[in-house]
Symmetry: C2
Subunit: 113 residues, 2 copies
């Protein structure tokens, strides 16, 4: 059935997105301090949909690994926000991710030949 195909396709796409999720989040945080809900909407704009149940545990993991740190800040409207930023270790980690990414890109390019 036609429908199976779409499902597999969507699955493969999701698979790829997962792979770079952590990398993408670090990239976003690297630009400026930012809080979870904002990360979600930025990634959605970039066509990388993430949901809350995914991002909160992930941010916690990154924080526990000391790649991220956060600071509570009041909001003018609504509850306070946890603003995340990269630690020194986090910046180093991000560099490593960029290399991995490059190497992945060239691996795929080579496989096409």
């Amino acid at each position: 059935m036609e429908d199976d195909f779409k499902k597999s396709m969507e699955n493969a796409a999701a698979q790829m997105r997962k792979g770079v999720l952590e990398f993408a989040i670090l990239l976003v945080i690297a630009k400026r301090k930012i809080y979870a809900s904002e990360i979600i909407s930025q990634l959605k704009n970039a066509k990388l949909t993430v949901v809350e149940g995914t991002i909160y545990p992930l941010l916690s993991r990154l924080k526990n690994s000391e790649l991220l740190e956060y600071k509570w800040e009041e909001s003018k409207s609504g509850p306070p926000r946890k603003y995340y930023s990269l630690t020194a270790k986090g910046r180093q980690f991000l560099k490593g991710c960029e290399e991995q990414w490059k190497s992945l890109e060239s691996a795929i390019t080579n496989l096409k030949k």
Copy 2:
């Protein structure tokens, strides 16, 4: 500990590789009919390590989804081999993957700005 960092890094790299595994396998098969052990060594050459426990179930899944088909062939030395190739559906699927991949590449590029 320094060691944690390496572990996280290796993990992130593995994560990325996973994301494109299916895609990479399809790319390899697209070039010519090929059997599992050979796929493993080709991917290893391309710096995308995969192990048997990963690839056999994956190939089965792809075959069940009718993206792949196989044909047994005798070998001059050793046991017979299952040579995989893409079905028409598989070729279409691969096209979809290539688009996904392009879109992922541009998403990451955009996030860097």
